[in-house]
């Protein structure tokens, strides 16, 4: 996070040393022009960094402690970069307004000036693609396809940067900095697309079994065809199913198995066309897996005394984690579901409970008892002091419980959750 902010401000420092700051902010038009330039520089750096963040690098997964955190940052910095790039021309146009309104109007008309046209095309593409991200309710795979065109917007932005007469073109250090970062951004995306199109860095599995646990939830068991993926339970991976019954783009799912043997399990709730179609997968259908990613594991925190809370299908990471607990951890699991029939895999958890006296599983049925609260958890677990709390479930469920625990005085660092609530 800090490194992103530092990287974004380096070009501003170079820019500030190019000319005396007194001249840069001597009057209204030079001040607005200067602000416009800074917005353009920082926006472009953040745009480049965002492409690198989207590159799904393992080293970034470790640095950010989880790919989910990377995507949260990608989302945040993407919105900031976009807003900066929107304001970039608005500040630059001020000097033309003071000269002539006609001149200012022409500033926004494409094909009047070629380098500006690259900028206009880039910004227009970005506006359309961001609107699809924030405001349109389109299917995930259509959105994912549309978001790939962001690379095209980025490419036009680079053309704009290279060909516009500006501080970047006048300073070799600044232009090298911006173009190297932009190059890394493009490289990250092309590497990711190349890896998706080929099977490089992918584990090859095949479907062993598909079980419908209830009408909405399906369990998929897979076994490796070649090398086995090594993972910790609680992590997640991206899966591409090679079957005529579903589309083959990659989707992220939590790993529900413990990783102790060859069988890899995921448990999926029907939330749309794609997840609904997964029950039609057949044994021996191929699977390509990219991963593992994520940091959600009881082993990654200091405390051995833990509380795990699952909301519905959020039980998946705990299924594998509970199996490898051993005796050194003391865990109270709360499994919140609307109705009893939704409590899939309860049997598996009860089995662990029988063999491990340090593991307790509490089923919480909201249609009978209302929503589970931090206070209830604290009461049932004899206090929550110095315990590590894990949350996994729908975004609103996690946010509500997190806030409740914080208001009970729990240190935010003791609360752990996967964040896909973009």
């Amino acid at each position: 996070m800090f490194i992103i902010i530092i990287l974004a401000f380096i070009p501003v420092i170079i820019w500030a040393f190019m000319e005396p700051l007194g001249l840069r902010f001597s009057d209204l038009t030079s001040t607005t022009t200067s602000i416009g330039q800074i917005l353009g520089l920082v926006g472009m750096v953040l745009f480049s960094i965002n492409l690198i963040l989207a590159g799904r690098f393992k080293f970034l997964d470790r640095y950010f402690k989880g790919l989910d955190k990377i995507y949260v940052n990608h989302h945040k910095f993407g919105a900031i970069a976009f807003s900066m790039l929107l304001f970039h021309p608005l500040f630059l146009v001020v000097k033309y307004i003071t000269f002539s309104l006609q001149q200012a109007g022409m500033f926004f008309v494409p094909f009047v000036n070629i380098p500006i046209t690259w900028g206009i095309i880039s910004l227009f593409l970005m506006i359309v693609l961001i609107a699809l991200t924030f405001y349109a309710k389109i299917k995930y795979h259509n959105w994912k396809l549309s978001h790939k065109f962001m690379t095209l917007a980025f490419f036009f932005a680079i053309l704009h940067v290279v060909y516009i007469p500006s501080d970047i073109s006048r300073n070799h250090l600044l232009s090298a900095y911006i173009l190297i970062l932009a190059g890394l951004g493009l490289f990250s995306i092309f590497r990711k697309v190349f890896n998706e199109k080929t099977t490089r860095d992918r584990f090859k599995y095949k479907i062993k079994n598909v079980t419908e646990l209830n009408q909405d939830i399906v369990e998929i068991e897979m076994e490796p065809v070649g090398e086995k993926m090594v993972y910790n339970p609680g992590q997640f991976a991206f899966f591409s199913f090679l079957s005529e019954n579903v589309t083959s783009e990659y989707h992220p799912f939590s790993l529900a198995s413990s990783g102790e043997n060859n069988i890899l399990k995921i448990i999926i709730k029907n939330l749309g066309d794609f997840t609904g179609g997964l029950k039609n997968l057949k044994p021996n259908d191929g699977v390509l897996i990219e991963g593992p990613f994520g940091n959600f594991s009881h082993k990654n925190v200091g405390g051995k005394n833990q509380i795990w809370i699952a909301g519905g299908i959020g039980i998946t990471p705990y299924l594998g984690m509970s199996k490898i607990l051993g005796n050194e951890y003391k865990v109270d699991l709360y499994y919140s579901v609307k109705e009893n029939r939704e409590a899939v895999k309860m049997g598996s958890l009860q089995e662990v409970e029988k063999t491990n006296s340090n593991f307790r599983c509490n089923l919480w049925i909201t249609s009978e008892k209302g929503y589970i609260t931090a206070e209830t958890v604290s009461g049932l677990s004899n206090g929550i002091d110095s315990k590590d709390i894990f949350l996994c479930g729908p975004p609103a469920f996690m946010k509500s419980l997190r806030d409740q625990f914080v208001s009970l005085g729990v240190d935010i660092k003791k609360i752990h959750y996967e964040n896909f609530s973009l």
């Binding site: 038009t29 030079s30 022009t33 416009g36 330039q37 353009g40 989302h75 945040k76 919105a79 900031i80 976009f82 807003s83 929107l86 304001f87 608005l90 630059l92 146009v93 000097k95 033309y96 307004i97 003071t98 000269f99 002539s100 309104l101 006609q102 001149q103 200012a104 109007g105 022409m106 500033f107 926004f108 008309v109 009047v112 000036n113 380098p115 500006i116 506006i127 961001i130 609107a131 924030f134 516009i164 007469p165 500006s166 501080d167």
Partner: protein, 157 residues
């Protein structure tokens, strides 16, 4: 983040729409005032830039001005001045230093009024013939005549 994006997009479109509309209105109003591309009165031989020579170019279809010791041929700029042609034509063939510094075509002192922007100063350089007293040839004059209207030039950053 959605809030930030929504607010930014709203401000962006509001300002862009306003500027494009204002620009179009301004363009419609100025339609009649086209620039003068063909200019007469180009001397064949060398010309000394003195007040007598400047005085010969005293109308909107052939307009020279002296500004701060430098002589400019702004004929092809007619039609592009944001204040309209009438702000420039009274000073054709004259020392327009005071008018330029004050944005008042009839100014008699360099003080008061408002100075031109740094961008206008940059534009003006496109129309420079030379310093007062300098001798130039007809080619230099032709060059300043063919400077295209600034609406297609001068964008930066």
């Amino acid at each position: 983040m959605k809030k930030l994006t929504t607010v930014s997009l709203f401000i962006f479109w509001a300002i862009v729409t306003a500027i494009l509309t204002a620009g179009l209105v301004f363009y419609q109003n100025n339609k009649g005032m086209s620039g003068n591309q063909a200019v007469n009165n180009i001397p064949s031989g060398p010309v000394t830039l003195d007040m007598q020579e400047i005085a010969k170019h005293n109308n909107s279809s052939d307009c020279w001005m002296l500004i701060s010791g430098k002589v400019y041929n702004i004929t092809s700029f007619f039609g592009s001045h944001p204040g309209g042609n009438n702000t420039m034509s009274p000073d054709c063939g004259k020392d327009a230093t005071d008018a330029y510094l004050t944005k008042d075509p009839y100014a008699t002192t360099p003080s008061g009024g408002k100075n031109h922007s740094s961008m206008a100063v940059g534009l003006l350089n496109n129309y420079l013939l030379g310093s007062l007293g300098q001798t130039i040839n007809g080619q230099a004059i032709s060059q300043t005549n063919s400077v295209s209207a600034p609406r297609t030039r001068g964008f930066d950053d």
